[in-house]
Amino acid sequence: MSTRPGRLGSKRWPDVLFRAAAVTCAALICLLMAGFFVELARNAWPSIRAFGFGFLTTSTWNPVTRTFGALSSIYGTLLSTLLALLIAVPLSLATALFLVKLAPPGLAKWVRQGVELLAAIPSIIFGMWGLFVFAPYMADHVQPFLQKVLGFLPFFRGPTMGIGIFTSGVILALMVIPFITAVMRDVFTMTPPVLEEAAYGMGATTWEVVRNVTIPYGVRGLAGGVFLGLGRAIGETMAVTFVIGNNHQLSASLFAAGNSIASTLANEFTEASEPLYRSSLIELGLILLAMTFLIQVAAHLWLNRLGRASGRTA
């Protein structure tokens, strides 16, 4: 063997370099994340000191008296996101199943492109359309109808103004559907055909195969799609700001105007000249970051448990 030491040495170089570059990039991401937290916490400190834990549990938001509480923003954020997912997840699931399992290939292509186009619409367009077209339609038709049918529930009481948490949830749903659908479509495409054949071979119908085999098999991936949608919905700013009503109030009714963390920040940052006001807004941002972080962590833990239960590892 004529292995020249020089050659061996030169071969090691790129490896070392590549390793260093990869480690640096990975570390940078972590640093960036930590930096966000630290910087937000530092700037939010005056507000944290002034209001303490009460910031999370009160909804008074009065720049004049300098009293701030984040509850209505947190409530609006969670509620509109939850509403969006309640609407978007079943629709995305059905669309993805249609695309993969039922639609003839030609039609599937058109529908898929249509759904993907939805993802390309800027959120400001959703916001404007929501305010000028969709909200009036909701006010005149959808909300009165819901009130007539489900008015005995507190969620559907109150004046039907069109704008409010309900409408913003629906708009958010439209915005996240393409993302959730795309992930779910990939998950369904990756189900091993032989597994589904085995279920068909037992005499199952298409619906039974989908319900008992396809969906449970891909549950981790499907949940991943849902969390991707959740991540987008929870921080969405522009469209929500247009239609949510921007009102610091807590109301059980979904038709009432409310606000979300993102919409409050977008609306009020320019006018927050006073330090405590500004600090409170920054604390809102910190809360949003912490919320998304906690949700992702919880999702991971839950998915790991789910993975163990069905005997498959990540």
């Binding site: 003839p104 290939p105 091993p192 032989v194 597994l195 589904e196 054949e197 085995a198 279920a199 068909y200 071979g201 037992m202 005499g203 199952a204 119908t205 298409t206 039974e208 008992n212 085999v213 449970p216 098999y217 549950v219 239960a309 069905s310 005997g311 498959r312």
Partner: protein, 303 residues
């Protein structure tokens, strides 16, 4: 695929009759005339008199297409009741395609098409009127790779039972146990019934799939290279199992492994390029093949 309303196909299982197989309920239909064997030139082989047992499945003039490409040509074959029929031949010769006609699995795919006659107990199963769901209960299938569903061992075996019968919990447990015993798996998994089916070893998973298939009391079991993904020890167990299963079920097994065909089958069909080149008792096919191609294949000259 053909959808049948769930209510129409679930048979209420009378506790008294629970022990009876659903097939007992059907009176044997009068045997329709057997279509004539078409002249297929040098490949003329099959003749119902080859079998000393009655034919459970009778194939006549089966052609098959993937889109415009024909892959099976005028297949004639008889599958003897409660015997093991092996289908051998080189890769891509249409073995799997052929048996996927028996439970009409190919219909899941848009561009696949079959024509000809495949009689199951005298009934043409390619008839569009055929109840596809009941056909698949009667003709179970085992695949190359184990296909445990994403659920517990118990639920895997109970899957078909829940699909086809209304049945009490205790009856369900009884039949799951007997299916697992039938698949020679009970002793290994009786303390793991609630664990996921995917947690078992490969060979156990394959026997789990067999248990799942026999739980619904099929008449025919199709096995598409069932041992190709398991180790030699598990293969030996599966072969032993096939030998016991043939007392109750008609078995068609596709295999790459000629020794396996010789060991476990009563009849062997040799497929080549979509034709049934030769069919007959396994012993004769392996000791005294009448076709040159068969001899070349089993002596290892090609394939």
């Amino acid at each position: 695929m053909q959808e049948v309303p769930a209510e129409d196909r679930r048979e209420d299982l009378d506790p008294v009759a629970a022990g009876e197989s659903p097939r007992d309920a059907r009176s044997a239909p009068p045997a329709p005339p057997v279509p004539e064997v078409r002249d297929r030139g040098p490949h003329a082989v099959a003749d119902p008199s080859t079998l000393e047992a009655p034919a459970k499945i009778l194939v006549r003039g089966l052609d098959f297409w993937y889109g415009d490409r024909q892959v099976l040509f005028g297949n004639d074959l008889e599958v003897a009741e409660r015997r093991v029929t092996a289908i051998i031949g080189p890769s891509g010769c249409g073995k799997s395609t052929h048996i996927r006609v028996y439970n009409r699995m190919f219909e899941l795919y848009r561009d696949q098409r079959a024509s000809g006659t495949v009689l199951l107990d005298g009934e043409n199963l390619l008839d569009p009127e055929m109840d596809l769901i009941d056909l698949r209960r009667r003709v179970g299938m085992i695949f190359q790779r184990p296909t445990p569903f994403p659920m517990s061992v118990f639920d895997n075996v109970a899957y078909g039972l829940r699909l086809h019968y209304r049945i009490s919990r205790s009856q369900l447990e009884e039949r799951v146990e007997s299916a697992l015993r039938g698949a020679a798996l009970w002793d290994e998994v009786n303390d793991k019934l609630d664990e996921p089916g995917t947690a078992l070893s490969g060979g156990q998973q394959q026997r789990l799939c067999i248990a799942r298939a026999i739980a619904v009391e099929p008449e025919v079991l199709l096995m598409d290279e069932p041992t190709s993904a398991v180790d030699p020890v598990a293969t030996a167990k599966l072969e032993e199992l096939v030998d016991t299963l043939k007392d109750q079920y008609t078995i068609v097994i596709v295999t790459h492994n000629m020794q396996q065909a010789a060991r476990i089958s009563d009849f062997t069909a040799f497929f080549y390029k979509g034709y049934v080149v030769e069919f007959g008792p396994t012993e004769r096919i392996f000791t005294n093949p009448s076709e040159r191609q068969t001899e070349d294949y089993i002596t290892g000259r090609f394939g």
